[in-house]
């Protein structure tokens, strides 16, 4: 979906800044935050009771946890 400097871009910027200011989330790469946002955008109009969105998000968060564990070890 084509998005100019619009609501999506705006909220992505705000979320990236929000995560970078959070002590636990600041190590998360920007690409992973954008991946989560993209999942939420793609499934905004899904009619499957959010099951697919949650499966995809959970997968991304697992990868984030792995990344954070690597950083901390």
């Amino acid at each position: 979906m084509s998005e100019s400097k619009s609501s999506i871009v705006e909220l992505t910027e705000q979320l990236v800044v929000g995560c970078s200011n959070n002590a636990i989330l600041r190590e998360i790469p920007e690409s992973k935050i954008k991946e989560m946002i993209q999942t939420l955008v793609s499934f905004q109009f899904s009619e499957d009771n959010r099951r697919s969105a949650q499966t995809n998000l959970s997968k991304t968060i697992n990868e984030i946890v792995d990344l954070l564990s690597e950083v901390n070890s």
């Binding site: 619009s6 989330l25 989560m36 939420l40």
Partner: protein
């Protein structure tokens, strides 16, 4: 996305076999992207608008129904369904295949889309929709030479169906946006506004992260419970978890029932709003009654304020004369001053004359005249008597009225003027006058509304209103029950947390610690998403308000009266007046329609979605004074691709071509053909495509 061509086959009044039967082109080599299709009522303008809707979404709303009402036109004529999509003559002649083809450019790549319908295999003469295949969609990426897999998903990525109503609309239905002026809490419309601004990306995020977190917490508890041999403790936790599961089922059930009630209420509201004048009248009656009540209170309040500030409202009423009175007082004081001066002069003159009588030296030059003779003494005495008379008269006049009184009054009047008390009182008075006028208007509107209500209509409306009230009550109960259940779940989850929190697992596995870490990440994601939700909502509200307000002020012919639009956090909209005392209001039908255009433009801009604005009867709700500005904006100023389908009373073909033809790739006019004039065809008027008319199928 830019539309480049639209082809119709046996589509409503446009008869013709093959997808090239009726061609509309709007791709121009010289950059023009807009298109105008002129046509009178019932000639087929809406059919073209609907062909675009059908091409993208495979369904066509019945005329006069909204996008979400689930009422679609039938594919083929049968005894029960009117207005089919298949051309009636084609149907009678046994030509049952119909559909549309569109060519478009999306993100720099060229595509061809085809959506066609044909009878089911083995059906030679279809009689109803059940005997027709479902519309078949095919999209090809011509730039890459590939067929697009899952074509409907591809379309939904370009423009989700729910958001299409912001890009494709009927000028006649702009009235629904008037609801935004009223505090109607039209959740559905406001929901779509939130959707186009992508708020659900944040709110769904909070919900999804919360759900995932719950699952992870359950998994973590399992880890913890594995570490204890306390069977009773496991039993308690299991019981609580079962409780939570059961309660969540109840919550789901209540939510489902509430959603149904919400939908029913929406239908009832819709009926009350749109389908019955009586309902409108009754609703208006309620509004006007409320307005009258409110105005009465406001007038009472304003009157009290006047009395409090300066006892006696009469003072405010006569205060307009204060200025005149001040001038009069000033005149009197000046007169008294001049009289006092004159009395002084007379005294000097009398003194001098008396000196003359006594033979004193002149008071000015010291010269001593010789004593006057009897005749001269007589004349001097006469002069003295005249002067004394004048002096006595002046003395009386000088102290009437008392100069002290005059000065005190002058000071008092100046005081009223300089402390703005007068202005304030005049404002309050004006406010009361305005409110009284508003009240008279409201009362007259109420009378009109009452006249519209026939007794039967009133009964029917009353039934719907009762149903509306019952549904509202039921929804309120569902909400309370839901909250109660949620509280129970919360309590049980706290208990589970307390119990399991005390268990120390014997050893911590990697999976166990990852699960803990995931919960921690999820909690923080929820926090960030939650904070950004509030922030983003305000950012987007302000942006939409600014863009919509600017456009509205450039479109309205009342820019001297209005100062812009105000959009509240719940997307209720007001037109703001320059004169504060009149407050904000919805404005006339025409102004509301301009407001709707402004909001739609601002929303679509903020959405970042590129899609043409396709408007049927664009100026249907706009008054003559604002028409020109609207067309100028749509066809000359807007950055979007604009496709409009006006009637000649909105825009005459010659005028439209003269003024906007240069900015359009093409303009067409729909003509009726056939022996009963029941079919239509397109006549090409302006052609800026770079192709010859012959190449476009017009053999002049």
């Amino acid at each position: 996305m830019k539309l480049e061509s639209l082809h119709l086959q046996n589509w409503q009044p446009f008869r013709g076999r093959g997808l090239d039967a009726t061609k509309i082109e709007l791709k121009s080599d010289s950059g023009q992207k807009n298109m105008i299709i002129y046509g009178e009522n019932t000639h087929g303008k809406t059919a073209i608008w609907q062909a675009i809707q059908f091409g993208f979404f495979g369904k066509v709303n019945k005329r006069k129904t909204g996008w979400q009402e689930g009422k679609y036109k039938p594919l083929i004529w049968d005894d029960t369904a009117g207005e089919p999509l298949l051309n009636q003559t084609a149907n009678e002649e046994g030509d049952y295949i119909f559909g549309v083809r569109m060519e478009f450019n999306h993100e720099g790549e060229e595509y061809t889309l085809e959506r066609t319908v044909e009878p089911r295999q083995g059906v030679s003469k279809p009689r109803n929709d059940g005997q027709m295949e479902k519309p078949d969609l095919y999209i090809r990426n011509n730039s890459k030479g590939k067929i697009v897999k899952q074509p409907q998903n591809f379309i939904n990525d370009i423009l989700p169906y729910d958001l299409a109503q912001f890009f494709m609309f009927d000028g006649e239905r702009l009235d629904q946006y008037r609801l935004l002026f009223e505090d109607t809490n039209d959740v559905k419309l406001k929901g779509y506004i939130e959707a186009i601004l992508r708020f659900p990306v944040l709110t769904d995020g909070v919900q999804d992260f919360g759900d995932i977190k719950k699952k992870e917490e359950k998994a973590l508890r399992k880890f913890a419970l594995r570490g204890t041999a306390d069977e009773e403790l496991r039993g308690v936790v299991k019981k609580l978890e079962d409780d939570v599961e059961e309660l969540e089922k109840v919550i789901k059930k209540i939510t489902g029932e509430k959603d149904l009630a919400d939908e029913e209420l929406r239908i009832v509201d819709e009926w009350l709003k749109l389908n019955d004048k009586g309902a409108e009248a009754l609703a208006q009656q309620t509004i006007f009654n409320a307005q009258i009540e409110k105005l009465e209170l406001e007038i009472e309040e304003a009157t009290k304020r006047i009395s409090k500030r300066l006892p006696g409202t009469w003072r405010a009423i006569i205060s307009s004369r204060i200025e005149t009175r001040l001038d009069e007082l000033d005149g009197e004081i000046k007169r008294q001053t001049s009289e006092t001066k004159r009395i002084g002069e007379i005294e000097t003159q009398i003194k001098s004359l008396e000196g003359r009588l006594k033979g004193d030296a002149c008071g000015y030059c010291g010269h001593i005249d010789k004593k006057p003779g009897l005749k001269e003494i007589d004349e001097i005495n006469k002069k003295i008597i005249v002067l004394e008379k004048e002096s006595t008269k002046l003395e009386k006049s000088r102290i009437d009225p008392d100069p002290h009184y005059l000065q005190t009054r002058q000071r008092a009047l100046f005081d009223i003027k300089s402390t703005n008390k007068l202005d304030m009182l005049i404002d309050l008075e004006e406010d009361i006058v305005n409110k009284n006028q508003d009240m008279r208007d409201a009362k007259s509107n109420l009378k009109k509304a009452m006249r519209l209500l026939s007794s039967q209509a009133r009964r029917e409306v009353q039934e719907y209103l009762v149903q509306q009230r019952e549904l509202q009550d039921a929804i309120a109960v569902y909400n309370i029950d839901n909250q109660k259940m949620k509280d129970f779940v919360k309590t049980r989850e706290m208990e589970i947390k307390n119990i399991t929190g005390k268990i120390q697992p014997k050893s911590q596995t990697i999976a166990h610690s990852k699960c803990g870490k995931k919960i921690e990440v999820l909690s923080n994601l929820i926090e960030v998403w939650d904070t950004v939700t509030t922030q983003h909502r305000e950012t987007m509200r302000a942006r939409v308000e600014e863009n919509a307000s600017n456009l509205f002020m450039s479109l309205t012919n009342k820019s001297k009266t209005y100062k812009g639009l105000k959009i509240h956090t719940d997307f209720q909209v007001e037109i703001l007046h320059k004169k504060k005392s009149r407050g904000a209001e919805a404005g006339s039908g025409g102004q509301s329609a301009l407001m709707a255009y402004s909001i739609l433009d601002a929303l679509t801009k903020s959405s970042g979605i590129e899609f043409p604005m396709v408007v049927d009867t664009p100026a249907r709700s706009i008054d003559e004074n604002n028409l020109g500005r609207l067309f100028d904006y749509l066809l000359l100023e807007s950055e979007k691709q604009v496709i409009i389908l006006p009637e000649s009373k909105e825009l005459k073909p010659k005028d439209g071509d003269d003024k906007y033809g240069g900015r359009c790739a093409t303009t067409y006019e729909i003509e009726l053909i056939g022996k009963d004039e029941d079919m239509s065809q397109l006549k090409l008027r302006i052609n800026n495509t770079g192709k010859t008319r012959k190449e476009m199928g017009y053999d002049d």
